[in-house]
């Protein structure tokens, strides 16, 4: 008579949700004006508003360049204070007996002030207007002119990770590594400004700092070191509030330490390489908007409450069976994915001394035996 074997259960976790109606938020950079209105149907290139960016100051050592005494430098300005000047335009000129010295404006700006003690001229860069585009096909569900935000309802694929921190941000998706390699600081450069980068199995602390420094909006990796995570958020156990933020948004898809990004997530992200996406660390997800105009029609049919605390999918208990797709959640081969092709009928004692039932999991390259508590079912 066969010995009774209990059904083997495992946690099942939603990793990818296709064609889901979701809210995304577009926000002005700095001050500006929102021109969108509720109910408006938009395409990705449509403008929702304009930011006015004041971008800083420049100092020109005018007296030195003119070869004159600092207290005299002001006399040689060709334009008065508070006037606008453009790059290359004649800013000041000194005429001596045999020669003259021209100083050209190094930038577009406003001549703000002159210091007669140091001989320095201060120029304020011209404000520039930055349009806020929709980035998606969708419908404007909410406008907050005071906060400078527009909430759009759109259809997207949601990709969930297991660790995340930071507010919703947007940017062009940029792969800087394959799914298995860790990323060093030298691989991050200023060309990634405003991008969301995919950083392989792990992003080191220096690389994360550099990414924040060059204006990377978000980072997706397979894993994060606990020390780097704690240096951002303070503790391993945190309350996932929607507004937690440190200036960059991070999302790890698999766990702590160097773990390759799972095949399912990596292949899905690859389809959006070079495209405009969103990342929300506090909800542990990336939002990959649909690029089809049909989105507007679908979104019209859906009423989505403006709930800022919409819960992420729960981890549920499911029965393991042949043919089920799983991911391995403990070393060795943590992060690997495959299909269950065998379930042992009798327990095996592991090297650790623990007895358990083993599964045979067929990954892309081989078949492996895995203790059943060490897998999660991929939904």
């Amino acid at each position: 008579m066969e010995e009774f074997m209990p059904p083997l259960m495992a946690n099942s976790r939603v990793r990818i949700v296709q064609n889901h109606c979701v809210h995304i938020t577009r926000k002005l950079l700095g001050s500006g004006e929102i021109t969108a209105r509720e109910g408006m149907e938009v395409a990705p290139y449509e403008i929702l508003g304009k930011s006015v960016l004041k971008t800083g100051f420049s100092a020109v050592h005018l007296s030195k360049l003119l070869g004159v005494n600092p207290k005299d430098g002001f006399k040689y300005l060709k334009k008065p204070l508070n006037s606008t000047i453009y790059k290359g335009e004649l800013l000041a000129q000194s005429k001596q007996l045999l020669f003259k010295k021209d100083v050209l404006s190094p930038t577009d700006g406003i001549i703000e002030s002159y210091d007669s003690i140091t001989g320095e001229l201060r120029m304020r860069f011209l404000s520039r207007q930055v349009p806020l585009t929709a980035g998606v096909f969708g419908i404007v569900d909410d406008v907050d002119k005071r906060a400078g935000t527009v909430t759009l309802k759109t259809m997207a694929t949601l990709v969930y990770g297991v660790i995340g921190y930071g507010i919703q941000r947007a940017g062009i998706l940029n792969f800087i590594s394959d799914s298995t390699s860790p990323v060093q600081a030298s691989q991050v450069d200023s060309s990634m400004h405003q991008h969301i980068i995919v950083a392989g199995a792990l992003i080191f602390r220096d690389a994360l700092k550099r990414a924040a420094g060059v204006g990377v909006q978000g980072v997706i990796s397979g894993g994060l070191n606990v020390s780097d995570y704690k240096s951002m958020v303070g503790s391993l156990v945190i309350d996932q509030e929607p507004d937690n933020d440190i200036g960059i948004t991070v999302l790890a898809t698999e766990g702590f330490g160097p773990i390759p990004i799972g095949d399912d997530v990596f292949e899905r992200l690859k389809k959006f390489d070079g495209k405009f996406i969103f990342i929300d660390g506090n909800r542990r997800r990336a939002i990959l908007p649909s690029s089809s105009e049909q989105v507007i029609e679908e979104v019209r049919k859906v009423s989505l409450p403006l709930d800022k605390n919409s819960p992420e999918p729960e981890v549920m208990l499911s029965e393991l069976a042949l043919g089920v797709r799983v991911r391995i959640t403990w070393p060795p081969l943590m992060g690997a994915q495959g299909t269950v092709v065998g379930i042992d009928k009798t327990p095996t004692q592991l090297e650790s001394g623990i007895s358990t039932y083993l599964l045979t999991v067929a990954t892309r390259h081989r078949k492996i035996k895995v203790p059943f508590p060490n897998v999660e079912i991929i939904v």
Partner: protein
């Protein structure tokens, strides 16, 4: 439907443990990154089990810290008994090592029965811990177990397999103790109190 959890799901202080808290218990000290990420993944995936003996050693270190925070999980101060859940025994084998880990944290005195609570609800006596602190300078203690004389080193824990219900144990010239054996046996703890 509830999700699969593991022993460490019931350890809220897990996230606060430091590398030193863990390495303190390990003979071969692990690298900082390894321990931190190990704890982090235990927190994320508490239902997983260690394949390797090395990983189990780290889990035993975490278990000791758990007992340090929650001694009531294994010891009833009111009844002066150790009670081990069967799930704990299966998760942290072998039983002798599990008792050793418990004794690393708890300072017991005199005799302490060890009970195993099976998942069926049955409670079974599996042995007794006899705790004795040898005098200063005494390197060895004479231990008499049902007439069998043993010389055990001070500062050690020795587990003697013995399934008998009635066992008489005498240490040095102390009064004899009447105790019970079982699946675990008799545990002679000759360490200093609090060691």
């Amino acid at each position: 439907m509830p999700k699969l959890t593991g022993f460490f799901s019931g350890f809220p202080e897990l996230g606060k443990l430091t590398v030193e808290d863990v390495n303190h218990w390990l003979k071969a000290k692990e690298q900082v990154f390894f321990v931190e990420n190990f704890i982090g993944n235990r927190y994320l995936y508490p239902q997983t089990i260690p394949l390797s003996a090395d990983d189990l050693e780290v889990d035993f270190a975490l278990l000791r810290e758990f007992i340090r925070y929650h001694p009531e999980f294994v010891y009833s101060a009111k009844n002066k008994k150790l009670q081990i859940l069967e799930e704990l025994e299966l998760r942290f084998p072998p039983p002798q090592k599990l008792i050793g880990a418990v004794l690393d944290v708890l300072a017991l005195v005199d005799q302490t029965p060890v009970l195993l609570r099976k998942t069926s609800g049955e409670v079974r006596l599996v042995g007794t811990v006899v705790s004795f602190t040898p005098s200063e300078g005494e390197s060895f203690s004479d231990v008499n177990v049902n007439g069998q004389l043993l010389k055990l080193q001070s500062g050690t824990v020795t587990i003697l397999p013995n399934r008998e219900d009635h066992i008489v144990v005498q240490i040095n010239s102390q009064p004899p103790l009447s105790i019970s054996g079982g699946q675990l046996g008799v545990v002679i703890d000759l360490r200093k109190a609090g060691q």
